[in-house]
């Protein structure tokens, strides 16, 4: 009952000073709005990255040459071994858990064919690649083991190439030249979309790694080996197995660190997620500064308001208000103002995130915890920054307050 009365008193006071209330709330509105938009952008990015990593393929393990320097420490090995075709064969032979394995040899190159030319990535892979990446052809077919064995010059192209080089014709059966080497198109890949980094995955040409290695790359080592297991539960065991096989293949002594890195999708997701999380937090922190400024604005207005309303406080005290009643009134006023500001800020943030997403194409996510957090935070801002002015008001002496001009 008493609390209700005091809230009513505070509410009346807020309504009586519409302009002051709006100006005070403005700081919080902008602050909360900014936090919501920033967190929405960050979480949107996080959600997309997560989705894209899932999209990389099923149960995939990535093996790369060189020691992992995660955490900033490069545990340099005594000797540096590259990944080789022999490593791929050894893994295929000795591993019990691997369902598919493919080296990936990267060869950037200009492709000429169809209606013009196109700068793209040429990846030399094995026949297992579509299984690992969970990536089928939409027309034609993928190359087979005999293509691989005989170093046949065949290629499977991504959607981007298909639409850009062959807008009006069927690319299957046509010829393209990759760095002057003619390849015959035997298949077109299904659309895959962008990577987390915004790279177009469909802007690619896949060819037998044997052919790429001999005709295009000129390098004898392999930068990356992709592997997949048939069941996700097998991933940790498969990772350990690959490690053991690779250590043996590279003849590492027990005291030597790995000179290769084995990561699975979860690791990749975690790395990406922690990066975007840091980004989200950074954005939120920057936006929080405006919330802090909004809070100081509330304190400023409340302090001015206590001085300006000294007489009002005197009147209330003289007719029987306790100091705590006055204090509660001012605290409720500042809290209600910042909560209303927070609520409007959330709506503004919602709209802002939508508009930003519309114009930039970024995905934005406004989550329930963000909204609740923003509300809780703005309430605390009101209480925290309203406390000092409220206490100042409550400690006034009725006679002095009444006499104040």
């Amino acid at each position: 009952m008493r609390a209700l009365v005091l809230i009513k008193v505070a509410w009346q006071s807020i309504l009586k000073n519409t302009m002051r209330t709006l100006l005070t709330m403005l700081g919080i509105i902008i602050g909360v709005g900014a936090v919501i938009v920033m967190v929405a952008v960050g979480q949107g990015a996080q959600a997309r990255i997560k989705e894209q990593i899932q999209n990389l393929g099923t149960n995939m393990i990535v093996l790369t040459a060189g020691a992992s320097n995660q955490g900033g420490v490069n545990q340099g090995a005594a000797s540096f071994n590259r990944l080789t075709v022999e490593n791929v064969d050894t893994l295929r032979r000795e591993s019990t858990l691997l369902a598919a394995i493919s080296p990936v040899i990267f060869a950037p190159g200009q492709v000429i064919g169809g209606i013009g030319n196109w700068r793209t990535h040429v990846n030399g892979v094995s026949t297992d690649y579509p299984i690992i990446r969970d990536w089928a052809v939409s027309s034609g077919s993928f190359f087979d083991a005999s293509d691989l064995r005989t170093l046949r010059k065949v290629a499977v192209i991504g959607q981007t190439l298909a639409t850009n080089l062959f807008p009006d014709s069927d690319p299957i059966g046509q010829e393209i030249q990759i760095r002057s080497v003619p390849f015959k198109i035997i298949g077109v890949l299904a659309a895959k979309g962008q990577t987390a980094g915004g790279e177009d995955q469909d802007d690619v040409v896949l060819a037998p790694y044997t052919t790429v290695k001999n005709r295009l790359a000129g390098r004898q080592f392999i930068p990356q080996i992709l592997v997949s297991t048939s069941r996700p539960e097998d991933l940790p065991a498969a990772q350990a197995e690959i490690k053991a096989i690779m250590r043996e293949a590279h003849r590492l002594a027990s005291w030597e660190a790995d000179d290769f890195t084995v990561r699975n999708q979860t690791d990749l997701a975690e790395t990406a997620e922690s990066t975007t999380e840091v980004m989200t937090m950074l954005l939120a922190a920057i936006a929080s500064i405006s919330l802090l400024v909004g809070g100081i604005g509330i304190m400023n207005i409340m302090l001015v308001s206590v001085t300006e309303r000294t007489r009002e406080i005197g009147i209330r005290l003289s007719i029987g208000a306790h100091g705590s009643d006055v204090m509660t009134q001012f605290l409720v006023e500042s809290t209600v103002m910042s909560l209303m500001g927070g609520a409007i800020g959330i709506l503004a943030g919602f709209a802002g995130a939508r508009i930003l997403g519309h114009f930039t194409g970024w995905s934005t996510v406004v989550s329930v915890p963000t909204v609740l957090g923003a509300l809780a935070f703005s309430a605390s801002v009101g209480i925290f920054f309203g406390f000092y002015p409220a206490r100042k008001a409550a400690s006034l002496n009725p006679i002095d307050a009444l006499r104040y001009e």
Binding site: M1, R2, V5, K8, V9, Q12, K16, R311, E312, G314, I315, R316, L317, S318, I319, G320, A321, H322, G323, S324, D325, P398, I399, L402
Partner: protein, 250 residues
């Protein structure tokens, strides 16, 4: 009616410390006011009238001496206890009205009820309207103070002082900001309320005003120098009629 005094003070002293200087505003006031009395406190400016009223109204505390209000020892009580006494037992009317601006008349009158901790007075709006009715402003409840004349504002303030049905009504120069006619109107209201049994102490420095009360207490330099009953008490309602008659002739 009990014979116990509403106000009973013994040797009230108030000293204001102004840096090195000390101002002795009250120098030993002994005062008793019985229920139903209507007292005018008079004296020159600076004689200590307001200081006395503030102590009687529990807005301030004496430096020395004792004060019993309605049989209860008041000096020595804490801030909140004094606030509760102001709320329940005292109605205070100020020279400058002291109404909350941008707050309607009825909300102003309602205010003391909102701070009533007994929790007994639930129908605050109805009680506030009843108090406004008593001061003849039942049709002005929704008006803001700046939409009312000085006399009307003072009557709203009186309604606010009455709404908790206090034992004592204190008024520090309630007519100080009002013209003659409005002053007589306010005094007429005070006389009506006093006839209904409310004890009233008011401060004035005008002889004309004190003539409407029943007893005059005169202060000089913090002492009571005179305490006499009013010999020929005037009736404010008669004077209002006379004023109206003059108005008609003019």
């Amino acid at each position: 009616m009990s014979s116990q005094p509403v106000i009973h003070t013994q040797h009230l002293v108030k000293v204001y410390a102004m840096g090195a200087n000390q101002v002795r505003a009250l120098r030993g006031i002994d005062l008793s006011v019985a229920p139903g009395e209507f007292v005018a406190v008079m004296g020159a400016s600076g004689s200590g009238k307001s200081t006395l009223m503030n102590i009687l109204g529990c807005l301030d505390v004496p430096t020395e001496g004792s004060y019993d209000l309605d049989g209860e020892r008041v000096n020595g009580l804490g801030r909140n206890a004094l606030a509760d006494i102001r709320n329940r037992k005292i109605g205070f009317v100020f020279q400058g009205f002291n109404l909350l601006s941008r707050t309607s008349a009825v909300e102003n009158v309602e205010l003391p009820l909102l701070y009533d901790r007994s929790g007994k007075r639930l129908e605050t709006r109805r009680l506030a309207l009843a108090a406004l009715d008593r001061v003849g402003l039942s049709d002005r409840g929704h008006h803001m103070p700046n939409e009312l004349s000085g006399g009307q504002q003072q009557r709203v303030a009186i309604a606010r002082a009455l709404v908790t049905q206090p034992a004592l009504l204190l008024a520090d120069e309630p007519t100080g900001n009002l013209d003659t006619r409005t002053s007589v109107e306010v005094l007429s209201l005070f006389q009506q309320l006093n006839d209904q049994g409310i004890t009233i102490v008011l401060v004035t420095h005008e002889r004309d005003i004190s003539a409407y009360t029943k007893r005059i207490v005169e202060l000089r330099d913090g002492h009571v120098i005179r305490d006499v009953p009013v010999a020929e008490r005037r009736l404010a309602s008669d004077d209002l009629q006379a004023l109206d008659a003059v108005g008609e002739v003019v």
